[in-house]
């Protein structure tokens, strides 16, 4: 056990709490066990059961992110909030960037959009960095749009691949081996190109903020024409953060929930994995939900990068990879 790394985590958390406390954010603590989840077809869930001799048992789920509760706090009229909490994602492959249990820093800034969150996050990274952190941070964040990154990595024009037939043809032209019998959505085929060509190019020592994700990749960020008001942060090739200008329209949230739940339950009734209960009234909280921007940061990955390590297993005490 390397106690210098244990100290590094402790210092980073202290710095982060000081940063947000000084800015007047409220630190909140929300449950790990939840009776319902936000439907996300690409995240598999852990389910457990509350049992009591004298009551009916109740299925509970371990949250894959604290979003479901933090958004309820915001809808109640809170100021900007943050939380450092444990999150759980099932069925992901164990590797140098994945552990089924990991730590997330999530913060929501009332009145902000995703662009404001870039400046805030950059300031937070610079002010909370632990000693010995890679020099790349000194230059601040580099902001690159998905359209530009795609063009540079593949020559493709995001606007020109909006229809599925063209996208699929271009993916095959790029040499991707897609079985002709495979039927999949625009988002999956786009992600094949993204994973094969775009992401591997985001390896600079300076953190790269990749903005303007295609709107076809469903999420609770506001639309902006053919893209979403969303960015992800890559540092040294590692995906560390995800940010939205949060969707505030109750009906759009309701529609997104219904669409995502349909996709999730169709896929999982075949695979047999957990289909979580979903609160079909959750969208109603958005009647009082403020304009805000939320950022989620994988703290194990951030620490890994700041400590110049190659695996989050080096930073997590007792990682699951040790027992599998």
């Amino acid at each position: 056990m390397d106690f210098d790394l244990v100290k590094a985590r402790s210092l980073l958390y202290r710095n982060v709490r000081n940063f947000f406390d000084e800015k007047g954010y409220l630190e909140v603590e929300t449950p790990i066990l939840s009776p319902t989840l936000i439907p996300e077809p690409t995240i598999e869930d852990f389910a457990t059961e509350f049992t009591n001799e004298f009551r009916a048992s109740r299925q509970l789920y371990m949250v894959p992110s604290p979003e479901i509760f933090m958004k309820r706090i915001l809808a109640e009229g809170s100021p900007s909030i943050y939380q450092i909490s444990k999150c759980f994602r099932n069925a992901e492959q164990i590797g140098h960037l994945h552990n089924p249990e990991f730590t997330m820093l999530e913060y929501y800034t009332v009145g902000y959009d995703e662009k404001d969150s870039i400046a805030l996050t950059e300031e937070m990274f610079c002010k909370t960095a632990i000693p010995g952190c890679p020099d790349g941070l000194k230059g601040g964040f580099e902001v690159v749009s998905m359209a530009d990154a795609l063009k540079k990595a593949t020559g493709l024009d995001l606007e020109a691949i909006q229809d599925y037939a063209t996208l699929r043809k271009q993916a095959v032209n790029l040499g991707l081996a897609i079985d002709p019998s495979v039927r999949e959505g625009w988002d999956d085929t786009f992600n094949r190109i993204f994973v094969a060509f775009v992401e591997p190019a985001l390896t600079g020592s300076r953190p790269v903020c990749l903005t303007g994700y295609p709107a076809q990749i469903e999420c609770l960020a506001e639309n902006d024409g053919m893209t979403k008001k969303r960015w992800e942060l890559y540092w040294d090739g590692v995906e560390i953060a995800n940010c939205y200008a949060e969707e505030t329209d109750p009906l759009k949230v309701r529609d997104c929930f219904r669409k995502e739940y349909a996709a999730l339950s169709a896929a999982r009734s075949v695979s047999g994995s957990v289909i979580p209960d979903v609160d079909d009234k959750y969208w109603e909280i958005f009647r009082t939900f403020p304009k805000c921007s939320g950022v989620a940061i994988g703290m194990d990955r951030l620490l890994m990068t700041e400590c110049k390590k190659k695996s989050i297993g080096d930073l997590i005490l007792f990682p699951v990879s040790d027992i599998l």
Partner: protein, 187 residues
Amino acid sequence: MIKAGQIDKGTALLIKGQPFVCIDREFVNPGKGSAFVRLKLKSPSTGQVLAETMKSQDNAEDITVEDMDFQYQYNDGESFHFMNVDTFDDVPVPMTSFQDYQYIMKEGETYRCTVYNDEILDIQVPSKVVFTVAEAEDAIKGDTVTGATKYVTTETGLKVRVPIFIKQGEKIRINTETKEYLERVNS
């Protein structure tokens, strides 16, 4: 058929009719996206390396391989020559496919190999191997700096950096992946 998510280092696959062996794989979960795997695959017959990106749920054509013992004989500058220890057949393997092993394998030594259709797809070299120092420079007199090193050459021709106290004829253990000196072996 197997799912791409099941492919591991060493898994043998058929790509457009040609056997390839997975030499590296990395899992990727793009935010709000399906699970993917990035693979590096090598053709043992040509040394060609392919990078493939697949969804973990995609099908891949795996092939049934056998593990068999072969004795390494010599190389002729183009191929390593192995002898099948059961049939005494000579099986050449292009050196370009396993350049890393040129100064690691010992003539006359038996290696476990992965075989498909009489073709050697993979040679299983132990991760730590003991070599004899064939050539060593003398340590410079009076050089007592802690951690000082020098280069020696093993009987297989591998040049490796070792502590200055290592002498010709001594045995040393080497990490065959990193080609780094691990320790002196007292015989």
